[in-house]
Subunit: 240 residues, 2 copies
């Protein structure tokens, strides 16, 4: 069974890819460049895709960065430091939210999936830690799956559009880390930080780093990225 797997090179999408490989999917990894500040994610994605021996790994560019309005793409907006925002009961959406990002990512994945005649699109979104992001919620994913059935040749021909698979959507970070380790993920190959050094060393003070740290702590595991540094090389053309 063929699956397009969205792979940012972060902790969640890497674990998602490991799960798809473990579940016997033939994986086509797709990494989107969208003007993100943290370009070391691209190097991480390359290392992870190679480790898991995906059938193919593609990079697709889309310039969402030009629309601004997120700390992840706008040089004018500082990446916030300190404790994560409350993970539930809050309607506040963090400044690190990128407008319509997952809608755009899933659309591009859908284009490739249609060409590949893939059965599934996997993504590592998570509604627990990122409850403030509208496009990480199960109801959004179901709506996209419905859209895919109307948007594609295979869908309208009744042969079945790609299903959207988000195996981590209800998991805590600790459970995600535990799952990944059991599936052989080397988390030194990943990149989570919103504000890393050029070579991918995490800042350990942004909200993404703190969530990750708490996840490893709750899972009772050490984070090899923090202990040993990144296990990939950021090429010059990938730096900001």
């Amino acid at each position: 069974m063929k699956a397009v797997v969205l792979l940012s090179g972060g902790l969640d999408s890497t674990t998602c890819l490991a799960k798809a490989v473990h579940d016997g999917r033939e994986c086509f990894a797709l990494t989107i460049r969208y003007g993100q500040r943290h370009a070391c994610e691209l190097a991480a994605a390359r290392a992870v895709a190679a480790q898991f021996g995906v059938a193919e790994h593609r990079f697709a560019m889309v310039d969402l960065g030009q629309f601004g309005a997120s700390a992840l793409t706008s040089p004018d907006i500082e990446v916030p430091k300190g404790e994560p925002v409350p993970s539930s009961g809050s309607n506040e959406i963090p400044i690190t939210y990128v407008p319509a990002r997952n809608t755009v990512f899933l659309s591009i994945a859908l284009a490739w999936a249609e060409v590949l005649e893939a059965d599934e699109i996997w993504l590592g979104v998570n509604a627990v830690d990122y409850s403030g992001y509208p496009d990480c919620r199960p109801e959004f994913l179901r709506a996209f799956e419905g859209l895919a059935a109307l948007a594609t040749k295979v869908g309208v021909a009744g042969r079945g559009a790609p299903r959207i698979v988000a195996p981590l959507v209800e998991s805590t970070k600790a459970r995600i880390v535990g799952l990944g380790v059991s599936l052989g993920v080397d988390y030194a190959m990943t990149s989570t930080c919103y504000d890393p050094s050029e070579s991918g060393v995490p800042c350990r003070s942004c909200e993404a780093c703190l969530l990750r740290e708490r996840g490893f702590a709750e899972a009772g595991l050490l984070d090899p990225l923090v202990e040993f540094g990144p296990r990939y090389t950021v090429h010059e053309q990938e730096s900001r």
Copy 2:
């Protein structure tokens, strides 16, 4: 009222922009570069946006071309010549279909609309002449509008996500041409051909040219693009 208007520089999207301007919208035109062969569309879009005095005109790149599988993006696939495919009662989808194109376009428009806090996204899709394209159908557009409400900050906050407006979806080409002329569209500024010359002269034998020709004929009007040639200049960096 603010509207993001998808503007390819073709006949339909240009007429759609004219209608949005006529209806009093503050228009933000968005042209997507997706690896299309017919780069003179970009020059056409620029000319049209300037003529209608849009508030802003942006170009966004997304490399759908790499996924291939359409005559509009793959140098390996010939643009078919000859009579248009039957416009109704056929389940056949033409080779000029670009996988998930309108899903990707609407997603990028949604990202900009969210940043602008726009009320609407307009697009010139048409289900009559392009009944073979799944993502030109009203049910697809309604599904995307539903998705937008779940995908965005404004949607989940209950302040209303952008509405999808497709004023030409049920119109014949003749009616679209008639509407555009009455709204002051100069169709010599548009580009419809799937296989034009570098400077934008239409081939007059591909399916898009034939549909356009029939539209002008049925409306009892001359096509100034055919009569006088394109009224825009294709810059070198925009050619293939």
